[in-house]
Amino acid sequence: MNIKKDTIVAISLLLFCGIMINSSFDIEDPGYQGMKASFWPTIVLCLLSIMCLVMLIKSVVTEAENNLNSNDTNLTNVFFKFKNASICFLMFVLFLAFLDYLGMLIGGVLFVFGLLTMLGGFELKKIINHFIISIITIGIMWSIFTFGLKVILPEGEILRIW
């Protein structure tokens, strides 16, 4: 397969522009004098579409230097290439999804501990270190924000029930 990354990106961005331009037609016009609310976003989206088109043409015309090879399209290779980043994404989504339930203190400790262990390894000594690090660092940050800066961080249902 001989597809250029830039071609795929340009087509995706053009699709995005199409959807947004279509959505810009739904922007309400309250009938006030002066510049309409849809004017500026439409200009930006039109310019963006033109630039994406230029990128698409350039990617098709220029010599293949940025092609997707079989390694890039192999799912296993892609997974290993982005393994750590994917772990961070996943852990962060979990942290956010359970934030209302666990709160910033417990959720934060679990997030840091989980991420440290997933990235650093599962040996017993490391797990103990990760546990200590997560409790100390989140504990300090939570205390600074709660008591020092008077920020009311999400308490979480668990602590609320207790």
């Binding site: 922007i27 309400e28 004098q33 500026w40 930006v44 963006l48 961070c88 956010l96 209302d100 800066l149």
Partner: protein, 548 residues
């Protein structure tokens, strides 16, 4: 005037809390600058959430401590380990590391430290002198001129951020688009909300900025499994005694290099997006060209250490000039500072120095004071630096990711902001992977609303779009924008090509046109100088093309 300066001085120097915050900020900046993979911008971004509970002066003073400290932190790692801590200290490695290797680590550190100090002091003096004058000039600007200035700021960011100009422009436009989501400020009409109430407020620019810059950087830092698990530095150097007296004497003897490099730094700082990473290399190159000991460069030449370090600290003053005078951030750090001011309901612009003199002069004084902290803390921070470098990157990244989440939540006390940070973090990560520069997108997000507001004001006053090219300042900025878009092609063009030979002289002649239109005697003189110089270069270069 004097009483304002004295009050501002008292609010910084006589307030132990502010001094304490600056102490911590400078120390944190030195460490952030010293650790490879961390940048000064990241240090300032991570400081931001702590400043929410402070006064505007305290918050900015702390950030300035991080900013100034960061520049000198970079020199510590590049000299002791040969690895630049930040892009702004790359050129320092060329002669700093060989000087250390030749058995003079104390002198090398002293030269770097005191060059940074003197460079910063020179730029601080220029900042105090130039920012009010530039702000005075900014009072002439109408909405047409401001809109064109923002367009110029974006195009120059694209052309200086390196790489593909098409991708840079796309990134900038994506940033401008992101700023349009939510209720528009003129009509209060919801845009691109897709039925989600949370989107009505739009994306607060600080979560976007933290996501695009810090979050995506952390993901990149832990990408390589092996590198993420090993300590930050395999060789972390040893504690050395800085030779202060000898270093000062050597620098003062080379005052021409010091001043030249500082002015290069200031000028580079004033240009949007052209930060310390460019100025240190430019200054090194000029120092090498001007030196009688050119062959010694790369082997531990003193001038090779003085030039980049004086330039990169001077860049900070240059970047502050634009932010203070016109409200246009010169780089990511000043964009964050702009955000910090907005949190305190202060909008920098041409009237900022007049409206908020205490705060404005407080910033000037904090910039001075931060340099003294930087010198004082260097020896102490060296010990902490040696400890920090033993920590693996994955530990730092995990803790900082959690800290980003807490900090972003503290901004408006809404969880949606953390989702925004995450979303833009993912976008930033993949944009980096696909070769899109992030600086234009960040500037686009920061300046998007301002651009739209000024466009609305301009069209509200008059339907005549010709005003964008008939008003001298607006024409000047639009011409600068066109010249900056063409600049990357000039860089890539062959040295002996017609385009390469004509670019600079034609640009000079073209830029003289709006200056002539401005009418004031000084600007007319500048315009005549530009025409004459451009004409002379044009004649010389055309003659060289057609030798008789």
């Amino acid at each position: 005037m004097i009483d304002v300066i004295l009050q501002a001085f008292a609010s910084i120097v006589l307030d132990p809390v502010t001094l304490g915050l600056m102490f911590i900020g400078t120390l944190a900046g030195i460490l952030a600058g010293a650790i490879p993979g961390f940048t000064i911008a990241m240090g300032v971004i991570l400081t931001l959430p702590f400043t929410f509970g402070m006064t505007a002066v305290q918050g900015l003073a702390t950030m300035l401590g991080v900013f100034v400290g960061g520049f000198s932190g970079g020199l510590m790692s590049c000299m002791l380990t040969g690895i630049p801590g930040t892009p702004s200290s790359v050129a320092t490695t060329f002669d700093g590391f060989p000087l250390v290797r030749s058995g003079r680590p104390g002198l090398a550190l002293g030269l770097g430290l005191w060059s940074s100090f003197f460079g910063g002091m020179i730029s601080a003096v220029i900042l105090v002198a130039l920012a009010p004058q530039l702000a005075f000039l900014g009072l002439e600007f109408g909405p047409w001129d401001y809109f064109s200035l923002i367009i110029f700021a974006l195009t120059i960011t694209v052309s200086l951020s390196g790489g593909n100009i098409t991708k840079g422009l796309i990134a900038g436009l994506l940033g401008l688009f992101a700023a349009t989501v939510g209720e528009d400020e003129i009509n209060g009409v919801a845009r691109f909300t897709f039925g989600f109430d949370e989107f009505k407020q739009g994306f607060a620019f600080l979560p976007v900025l933290i996501g695009l810059f810090a979050f995506s950087q952390l993901l990149t830092d832990v990408e390589d499994d092996k590198r993420a698990k090993s300590p930050l530095m395999s060789q972390s150097g040893a504690i050395v005694k800085v030779e202060h007296r000898q270093a000062i004497l050597i620098i003062l003897k080379r005052w021409v290099n010091l001043f030249r490099s500082s002015f290069i730094g200031i000028f580079t700082g004033i240009l949007p997006a052209a930060g310390g990473s460019i100025s240190n290399i430019l200054a090194y190159d000029q120092a090498k060209k001007a030196s009688p000991n050119r062959s010694n460069f790369g082997k531990g030449e003193y001038d090779g250490v003085i030039a980049p370090e004086a330039a990169n600290n001077a860049t900070a003053g240059g970047a502050l000039i634009m932010m203070m005078a016109l409200g246009i951030p010169g780089d990511i750090v000043t964009a964050v500072m702009l955000g910090a001011l907005m949190i305190h309901n202060i909008i920098p612009g041409p009237t900022f120095i007049q409206d908020e003199p205490l705060l404005a002069y407080g910033v000037f004084i904090a910039f001075f004071v931060a340099h003294f902290f930087m010198v004082g803390l260097q020896a102490f921070s060296l010990r902490i630096f040696l400890l920090v470098t033993k920590i693996p990157m994955y530990v730092l990244a995990s803790v900082i990711l959690a800290y980003c989440a807490i900090g972003v939540f503290a901004l408006h006390n809404v969880v949606f902001d953390i989702w925004v940070m995450f979303f833009f973090g993912v976008i930033g990560y993949f944009m980096k992977k696909l070769g899109f520069p992030l600086a234009p997108m960040i500037l686009g997000v920061v300046l998007g609303k301002l651009a739209e507001l000024n466009l609305a004001r301009a069209t509200g006053i008059s339907d005549d779009m010709i005003l964008f090219i008939s008003r001298p300042w607006s024409l000047f900025f639009l011409l600068m924008a066109i010249i900056s878009v063409i600049f990357p092609f000039y860089q890539d063009a062959k040295k002996d090509s017609l385009f390469s030979k004509l670019y600079v002289p034609i640009s000079m002649i073209v830029l003289s046109l709006p200056l002539f239109l401005m009418g004031s005697p000084v600007r007319m003189i500048v315009a005549i100088i530009l025409v004459l110089t451009g004409g002379y270069f044009l004649y010389k270069r055309i003659s060289s093309l057609n030798p008789i």
